[in-house]
Amino acid sequence: MCVRQCAFEGHSYDPENDEVNSKEEVCVGCHRCVTLCPTNALTVRQNPLDFRAHGNWTGWAIRNIFKQAETGGVLLTGMGNDRTYPIYWDHLLLNASQVTNPSIDPLREPMELRTYLGRKPDKLDVQYNGKNFQLKEPLPRQLKLETPVVFSAMSYGAISYNTCESLARAAHALGTYYNTGEGGLHSNLYKYGKNTIVQVASGRFGVHKEYLDTAAAIEIKIGQGAKPGIGGHLPGEKVVEDISKTRMIPKGTDALSPAPQHDIYSIEDLRMLIYALKEATRYTKPISVKIAAVHNAAAIASGMVRAGADIVALDGFRGGTGAAPTVIRDNVGIPIEFALAAVDQRLRDEGIRHQASILVAGGFRNSADIFKAIALGADAVYIGTAALIAMGCHVCQKCYTGKCNWGIATQDPYLEKRLNPDIATERLINLIHAWSHEIKEMLGGMGINAIESLRGNRLALRGIGLTDTELDILGVLPAGR
């Protein structure tokens, strides 16, 4: 069975000797064979071929040069940055209420996670109609989330149809949203339109009238955390019939999105596109603009908000991808913690924070990361890799080969079947329920019963093991103060 399950042909059966042999060098560490083996006979370890210990010339660095010398090509990889840069979430600590303020028990009292994303007015005009107070003007359209977690942009093509369906169904059940990524929207999934955020990316794949009309919100993708500054890449092997139809491109061709959007060369061009989309959808849908977290993210975000964006989406350097050049993924972009703190503070300094909601993405691993992000100022959090892991991904980083043994990052019909949407949907729902409950527990521990009181409340955090500059950028006090 392990023989048949491994798309990388790591195991083979030798009928002569009646035994199974393994080709260790092709193993990618996806654990498919390990998980399905009925006798638990298999396990995976790091390749024992060690180079001599060297602080600079590690085995990884040496092997990369071998590969490039042999092929002359750009090294490709999948998923998010795996280098050991510091993770700032692990340097932030949370508060709890004692004595002076009672903590609140989420099992017995209402604990509210509901979040609305979109542009908010400076103030409300209220008038009296003889019986009741009422609003003078309705609010601009908002996205309603029952929990501050949204499924991140993953394109149909990078991931399989079954995966897309699972995300759509889970978003619908949970009262949140999922993002189509730049792959367009498959016609079968239009029925989940009310829970869909569609993306308009540089390749404009799959962008047509029904696509925009079906969605709950539209996201203009300027960049993504895994590969800031360059466009998306879907290898030709993955462009099969359905993909071709959905993306509106010929079968078998590489789908290379251009690096910039060729009609957005400056901030005023962005404003033009935002308003074009707003006009096209008669101002009924919030428009989001997604950028990668880069050095001057704060200034860009401020420009975006003034250009009309209702939601600012920031993708940190840990963000995942189906395919990206390794050197870009590992070296370009900054941690989302800093980008978020800087953008939130900058928008507040300019008095425009309420004009757009902030959505952050990039390697969120658990509910504590999400909680800290909200405390730093995010309205909600996009999860990508975590959602895939919930569905079976083991982060082997070989998505770009199209040979995902778990049926997630593949278009091969034989492999695709391995992702059962019924099971995957339930697992996603379980994950988000579990995290929502944990967030409620943490809120209650702080004596807060509504997420609005956590959002942007930097006093809920303390830093540990951070330099003064880092504390200053994050806007938090050190533990002990």
Partner: protein
């Protein structure tokens, strides 16, 4: 007076409050309020007490009465220079005090009755009140050793470190006559010493006393900073005063609506409201960062009335009573009965719903103007939209 900490360390607001308003506008001396708060001394620890009174400067009622405290003469000189430059100072004098046991090393306490020169308001859209607010914020953030603790017309706040009844005697409050009085006794958990940290917190003619802890302080503060308010007093109560100023004066929301924004009902309740669901939902969406979380009981005094209200799940006590034309609100019924032994009606307000007392002549005007019909509104844009407390 001692403001040695340069980083913020949140001060937890305890623990006793009381107030009353004579709705006929009849003024009474501060004796009553001192007795009421003194009864509740068990709730404080002697590290802070304060009062606010309305109607106390009738001869100067059109001038802003700025109360300032100074560490030393140098601070006083520098600040007076600023005041003279930016405002007309009609009268300045020391605030009368008496030496009282229990009040140690008071700072210099002065009051200034000032007027704003129309020509100084250089931008259209900036009102006289905005101008005063700006000056107060400026002095509190940048002047060394100087501090404005009251800035309204025909009202004043009086606060110090000490038990509240000692504070009342120190300021000779029995010599003042006011129609609204509020008082507070503090049980701080930080090191004592700073007079500015006592309640009430004021801005223009809003004065707030608070029992509880604002756990949403971090975000309330950042929200207010977007609108130009600076939180300098290192006590969470400060944000309440500024939030009321923002919602009531600047955004002109009616009282009930402002209170609904600050102590918002749950989404579950909102989803089931008839008639006012859209408004309640919009309020929470727009004013989410103004939602005040954590236990609190607040008394807000303003020139036309008095408001008492609790957090959305009522975690601090607040009791109200009425007798004749006076509305009483306090942390304990005993505090009320001390000065009003047989009230006609005594009750506890519900979580998130304000108790309001209004000056009689204001009552009718408030009722009418806050309920202007739509047709009137459309006809005359000159008329206030929905006037609030100012």
């Amino acid at each position: 007076m001692d403001r040695k900490r340069t980083w913020f360390e949140k001060d937890i607001s305890g623990c006793s409050l009381t107030g009353f308003i004579n709705e006929n506008g009849e003024r009474v001396s501060g004796e009553a309020i001192i007795q009421s708060i003194a009864l509740m001394n068990e709730r404080s620890n002697g590290l802070g007490g304060g009062f606010a009174a309305y109607g106390i400067y009738p001869e100067m009622k059109d001038l802003y009465a700025l109360h300032l405290m100074y560490d030393d003469l140098q601070a006083k000189e520098e600040t007076e220079r600023i005041l003279n430059e930016l405002l007309f100072v009609e009268l300045k004098e020391e605030i009368p005090t008496r030496k009282t046991q229990g009040i140690h090393r008071p700072p210099l306490l002065w009051r200034y009755f000032v007027k704003v020169d129309e020509n100084r308001l250089f931008e259209p859209g900036v009102s006289e009140e905005d101008y005063i607010v700006e000056i107060v914020m400026k002095i509190n953030t940048s002047s060394k050793g100087a501090f404005v603790f009251s800035s309204g017309k025909n009202m004043g706040a009086f606060k110090a470190v000490g038990f509240p009844d000692d504070v009342g005697r120190f300021y000779r409050l029995e010599e003042y006559q006011g129609y609204t009085w509020i008082a507070h006794g503090r049980f701080p958990t930080n090191t004592p010493g700073w007079w500015g940290g006592a309640h009430p917190f004021t801005l223009l003619d809003f004065a707030v006393v608070h029992n509880g802890e604002i756990s949403s302080y971090g975000i309330n503060k950042r929200y207010l900073e977007m609108f130009g308010y600076q939180c300098t007093l290192m006590t969470d109560t400060e944000v309440m005063a500024y939030l009321f100023d923002l919602l009531l004066r600047k955004h002109r929301l009616p009282i009930e609506i402002a209170c609904m924004a600050l102590a918002a009902p749950t989404w579950q309740e909102i989803d089931h409201y008839d008639g006012k669901m859209e408004l309640a939902k919009a309020l929470r969406i727009v004013y989410g960062s103004a939602l005040v979380n954590g236990p609190f009981a607040i008394l807000l005094g303003h020139k036309r009335g008095l408001i008492g209200f609790n957090d959305r799940i009522k975690l601090r006590p607040l009791v109200a009573a009425r007798k004749d034309h006076t509305l009483y609100i306090a942390s304990e019924e005993a505090g009320i009965r001390e000065i009003c032994p047989s009230p006609e009606k005594v009750w506890s307000p519900k979580a998130g719903e304000p108790i309001t007392g209004w000056l009689k002549e204001e009552q009718q005007r408030e009722f009418e103007s806050s309920r202007i019909r739509i047709s009137d509104r459309e006809r005359s844009e000159q008329v206030y939209s929905v006037p609030s407390v100012c």
